[in-house]
């Protein structure tokens, strides 16, 4: 188990029930402790791929394994374990925070994993401390700023002590200070991370490695530095660095 990659995706293909095929054979291997940026234009299949990482979508063709275990969506017990290992932070924190208070929301995941009582409280407090939101435990989510809600959304997942943290557009809609605060938090976590983003400077800041997904296949995989300095590759995949931003 110790040598197994955190995430191993092999020849994964998937079509939606309406016939729209989103993935055409994706191969991706993420080692333990790696931070990988998943880049790609809108409609490339990034979100669909994320939905496979914790077994929301079943693998129709190919396989997805997490820490050496192959996901089988029929096996409910396994699925519960996988969802404890793969923490997905969704793009809109209002979708993620559905309980009446911040504390209860963070308790939701670990509760489903079977924690109770003092252990549950400890998991909640620890996750809140990691994102510097301890004083907001009893507040309802709609009283928080967007940046704070995003941080709480990260905490809801961290409370489950996942093997991999998957973030969907973590920097979207954040003001610059919230964006930096979140980056500091993410950097401080000792965890495997897959970050779906269009924010190339953010990927450069946080992830040593990047992969580009386009048209349902991985078209590039390498160091973030190499990928972001290859302007022809970026242009071919509808990716652009912000004006005035350059990487030596």
């Amino acid at each position: 188990m110790t040598n197994a990659p955190s995430l191993l995706i092999q020849e994964l293909a998937f079509a939606y029930p309406d016939g729209n095929q989103a993935l055409f054979g994706v191969n991706l291997r993420v080692e333990r402790g790696e931070r990988v940026a998943l880049l790609g234009p809108n409609g490339a299949g990034k979100t669909t791929l994320v939905m496979h990482m914790n077994g929301i979508h079943p693998a129709e063709h190919g396989s997805v394994s997490v820490a050496g275990e192959v996901i089988d969506t029929q096996d409910k017990e396994l699925l519960r374990r996988i969802r404890g290992k793969v923490g997905v932070v969704f793009q809109d924190p209002d979708d993620q925070l559905f309980m009446p208070t911040v504390g209860e929301d963070i308790a939701f995941g670990p509760y489903n994993m079977g924690l109770r009582g003092a252990e549950l409280d400890a998991a909640v407090d620890e996750a809140l401390a990691l994102v510097h939101m301890s004083e907001y435990k009893d507040r309802p989510p709609h009283h928080l700023s967007f940046g704070q809600r995003r941080r709480v959304a990260v905490a809801t997942v961290l409370a489950m002590k996942p093997e991999i943290l998957v973030l969907d557009e973590p920097s979207s809609n954040l003001d610059p200070a919230s964006r930096r605060e979140l980056a500091d938090i993410l950097r401080s976590l000792d965890i495997t991370m897959v970050m779906v983003t269009h924010d190339l400077p953010y990927a450069y800041e946080l992830c040593a490695r990047s992969v580009i997904l386009k048209g349902g296949v991985i078209v590039a995989d390498g160091s973030t530095h190499a990928i972001l300095t290859d302007s022809a590759l970026l242009e071919a995949n509808r990716l652009e660095l912000p004006v005035g931003f350059s990487i030596q």
Binding site: V88, D94, M99, G103, A107, Y111, N112
Partner: protein
């Protein structure tokens, strides 16, 4: 639940036992004092009752049966009694509901319902409603501002089409949000139960305190029936 019991007891008291109603009002007032609710707040919040009272006040002027006169007014005895009953009982109900809603947060109410063995699904739906009512009303406001920014002002019947379209868009958006929330719940291992660890079992003392008001009302009902 205590509020419900109190309302049931007071509604089932015949209006002719007017002494009982004085005692009920006193009891509510004492409870609100104990709960440290300022009396003006209590009164302002119970103004919601006025439209209902309005119709009750009209009742004595229309009706059948025995008539009698108070000054210039010519009233029907039975309707007067019925109207008085509606006004008094309605006011009692509203006052007790106001006491409940002022002292108890919506969240605690839901926990209470859960403890009273209301079906889990209903409590969960109410919990989500509580969480998302703000999100959806914000969305509605944003859509309204977006409409008006493009020169739309609802003036009459002809604009209903636009408003209906907006309402259906809002409905679809809420539906889609529901899907996304469900996905987010599944991703964190949702299997049909919301955490209930944070609720504590109500001690006997709390039950007794809660039931004190309806029990008091019940004893008054019994004693006035026996005496009267």
């Amino acid at each position: 639940m205590a509020v419900l019991a109190f309302i049931i007891v007071s509604v089932s008291t015949p209006i002719t036992q007017w002494q009982a109603f004085i005692a009920y009002f006193l009891a509510i007032f004492i409870v609100s004092l104990i709960a440290k609710i300022p009396t003006p707040t209590l009164l302002v919040r119970s103004l919601i009752e006025i439209p209902f009272i309005f119709f009750a006040i009209l009742m004595p002027f229309f009706g059948t049966g025995e008539r009698f006169e108070i000054g210039p007014l010519n009233l029907y005895r039975e309707s007067l009694l019925a109207a008085a009953g509606i006004v008094l009982k309605g006011t009692l109900g509203v006052l007790s509901a106001v006491v409940l809603s002022t002292t108890t947060t919506a969240r605690e109410l839901l926990r209470g319902l859960e403890k009273l063995r209301l079906p889990k699904l209903m409590v969960q739906i109410a919990t989500f409603m509580l969480r998302y009512v703000n999100v959806i009303s914000d969305e509605m406001n944003r859509m309204k501002i977006a409409r008006e920014s493009r020169g739309f002002i609802a003036t009459g019947l002809k604009d209903w089409k636009v408003l209906a379209t907006a309402a259906s868009a809002l409905f679809i958006r809420s539906y889609e949000r529901g899907e996304r929330v469900h996905l987010a719940m599944l991703s964190r291992g949702y299997t049909g139960n919301l955490p209930e660890d944070y609720t504590k079992a109500a001690p006997l003392k709390a039950w007794l305190q809660g039931m004190a008001l309806p029990l008091f009302a019940l004893s008054i009902l019994i004693s006035t029936t026996v005496i009267g």
